[in-house]
C-alpha cells in the first residue's frame, strides 16, 4: 500500500504495545504476530493517533532524533506502509 505524506495513520485497536527491554513490542492479538520496534519506530508508533499526518510525524521525528528530513520521510513512509500491510496500523477516516 503506497501512502502520501498527507494521510493520518492510526494504531489498530487489535494491537497491544508494551515495553520489551530497550525496545517496544507490538502484539497483533487477532493474528498472533509480534513485532519488535526500535526507538524511532516506537516513537512513530506513539504518534499514530489518527490526527497527525505522516508529514507531521516526520517533522517530529526530525526534531526528536536529529535525522535528515529526506531520509526520515522515506524511512517513515516505508515503515508505515509495512505496518499498514500487517494491519497494525490503519488510516484514519479510511
Amino acid at each position: 500500500m503506497a501512502v502520501s505524506g498527507e494521510v493520518r495513520p492510526l494504531r489498530a485497536d487489535e494491537v497491544m504495545h508494551f515495553p520489551a527491554g530497550d525496545s517496544t513490542c507490538l502484539h497483533h492479538l487477532d493474528k498472533g504476530e509480534y513485532y519488535i520496534l526500535n526507538a524511532v519506530a516506537a516513537f512513530i508508533w506513539g504518534q499514530c493517533d489518527g490526527i497527525l499526518t505522516i508529514d507531521d510525524i516526520v517533522a517530529k521525528v526530525v526534531s526528536a532524533f536529529e535525522v535528515d528530513p529526506t531520509v526520515a520521510q522515506a524511512d517513515a513512509i516505508e515503515w508505515i506502509e509495512s505496518m499498514l500491510s500487517s494491519s497494525c496500523l490503519r488510516l484514519a477516516g479510511g
Binding site: 492510526l10 494504531r11 485497536d13 497491544m16 504495545h17 508494551f18 513490542c25 502484539h27 492479538l29 487477532d30 498472533g32 508508533w45 506513539g46 493517533d49 489518527g50 490526527i51 497527525l52 484514519a92
Partner: protein, 342 residues
C-alpha cells in the same frame, strides 16, 4: 530488605499464555505447590487436593469482586485515539485511568469511547501518573463496558479472552480492573466438596486496580502501595470471629483478601465489618493477625505480591518453593498454577 532478595529467574516459557480450560482442563486441576511453614516441607499437588488440607470448621475467605472490561479505546478531543485502562473508581462516575501511549490530559476535553459512552477529562493524578475522568453516573455503565471494552490483558497472554475467563465462579460485585486470580481455581464441584467436608465460606469485596505496580525502589520497605477499596460484610466478620473462637483455621484466598482482612483487623485479630480504602503493604517482617493459611498464585520477581507471600511463608521457603516449581515447569501469573502455604 533489598528488593534483589526477591529476585529469581523466571523463564518466559512458564508464563501462562491462556486459560487452562481451553485445553479441556478443569480450573481446579491447576498444580498446587504446598509450603509448610512448620516443617519447611514442600509438596506438589493439584488444586482440588485442597480438600485434603482443610478440616471441618475451617473457614475459607474469598473475594467476590467481578472483573470488568476496563480496557477501552477513546477518541480524545485534540489528542486523537488513545488507550485507557480504568484502574480506580472514586465514586460519582469518576475513574482514574492509565493512558497509553501517554499524553498529558487536557482538563475539559471530551473522550468518546463509542456512540453511547463519553467522559470528560478532569485532570491528572501525577504520582503514578493517571488521568482523572468523569463518566455520566448511569446504571448501565458496566453493560457499556462489556460492549465497548475488553479485560486488561497481560502482555504474555496470547489473545483477547472474554470476561468469563477473567472471573471466578463466585464473582458478583463488579469493579476489579484486574482479576483476583487466586480464586479462579475454584470450581462449583470443589466448593461443594469443601462445604461437604464442613468448611465454611465467607466473602469480602476488594476491587483490584492499583496494587499490581511492581516495586521500583531498591529497598522493599520504601515502596508505596496505592489505595484500593474493600468491603467486609457483617456476616463475614461474624464468621471470622466464630472461627477464631472455635480455634479452627482461616484460609485466605489471594493477596486481595489478605490485604483486606489485615486492614480491617484490630490488634486483637477481630475483623471489623465496613467499607474502607486500604493501601496496606505487606512485606517480610509483617505480623499477621487473621490468616492461618494462604492460597495465592505464582508471582513475578520483585513484585509486591511475592513480598506478601514471603512475609507469610518466609522468604527462604517461598524462594525454595519457587525454585522447585520452576524446575517442575509450574505456570505463573493469572492463568497459571497456585501455591498453598499452611
Amino acid at each position: 530488605m533489598r528488593v534483589k532478595e526477591l529476585q529469581f529467574e523466571l523463564p518466559t516459557r512458564l508464563l501462562a499464555t491462556r486459560p487452562r480450560e481451553l485445553a479441556g482442563e478443569r480450573r481446579d486441576n491447576a498444580r498446587l505447590l504446598v509450603l509448610c511453614r512448620k516443617t519447611g516441607g514442600i509438596e506438589h499437588r493439584r488444586f482440588h487436593d485442597l480438600v485434603e488440607y482443610v478440616n471441618p470448621g475451617d473457614t475459607i475467605i474469598l473475594n467476590d469482586s467481578r472483573t470488568i472490561n476496563a480496557h477501552l479505546f477513546g477518541d480524545v478531543e485534540g489528542l486523537g485515539r488513545l488507550e485507557f485502562q480504568l484502574r480506580c473508581y472514586k465514586g460519582a462516575g469518576v475513574w482514574q485511568a492509565e493512558c497509553r501511549p501517554w499524553r498529558d490530559p487536557v482538563p475539559g476535553a471530551r473522550i468518546n469511547f463509542g456512540p453511547s459512552l463519553t467522559a470528560v477529562v478532569e485532570g491528572i493524578r501525577p504520582e503514578i501518573p493517571l488521568w482523572i475522568m468523569r463518566f455520566p453516573d448511569r446504571p448501565d455503565f458496566e453493560d457499556l463496558l462489556a460492549e465497548l471494552g475488553r479485560p486488561i490483558m497481560s502482555p504474555y497472554v496470547d489473545r483477547v479472552y472474554g470476561a468469563e475467563f477473567y472471573n471466578t465462579v463466585y464473582a458478583r460485585t463488579p469493579g476489579s480492573a484486574e482479576m483476583p486470580a487466586a480464586g479462579r481455581h475454584f470450581t462449583p464441584e470443589l466448593l461443594d466438596a469443601l462445604t461437604a467436608k464442613g468448611v465454611r465460606m465467607g466473602y469480602i469485596t476488594l476491587h483490584t486496580g492499583l496494587s499490581s505496580i511492581d516495586i521500583q525502589t531498591e529497598d522493599v520497605e520504601k515502596h508505596k502501595m496505592l489505595e484500593e477499596w474493600y468491603s467486609v460484610p457483617e456476616e463475614t466478620s461474624e464468621l471470622l470471629t466464630e472461627t477464631k473462637k472455635a480455634g479452627t483455621r482461616v484460609f485466605i484466598v489471594g493477596t486481595t483478601v489478605m490485604r483486606c482482612l489485615e486492614s480491617a483487623a484490630g490488634e486483637d485479630g477481630r475483623v471489623a465489618p465496613g467499607d474502607h480504602w486500604t493501601n496496606l503493604y505487606i512485606y517480610p517482617g509483617y505480623r499477621f493477625k487473621v490468616a492461618d493459611a494462604f492460597i495465592t498464585n505464582f508471582h513475578g520477581p520483585k513484585s509486591t505480591r511475592i513480598a506478601l507471600a514471603a512475609a507469610f511463608a518466609g522468604t527462604e521457603l517461598v524462594l525454595r518453593g519457587y525454585r522447585q516449581a520452576i524446575e517442575r515447569e509450574y505456570l505463573f501469573y493469572e492463568f497459571g498454577d497456585a501455591t498453598l502455604t499452611i
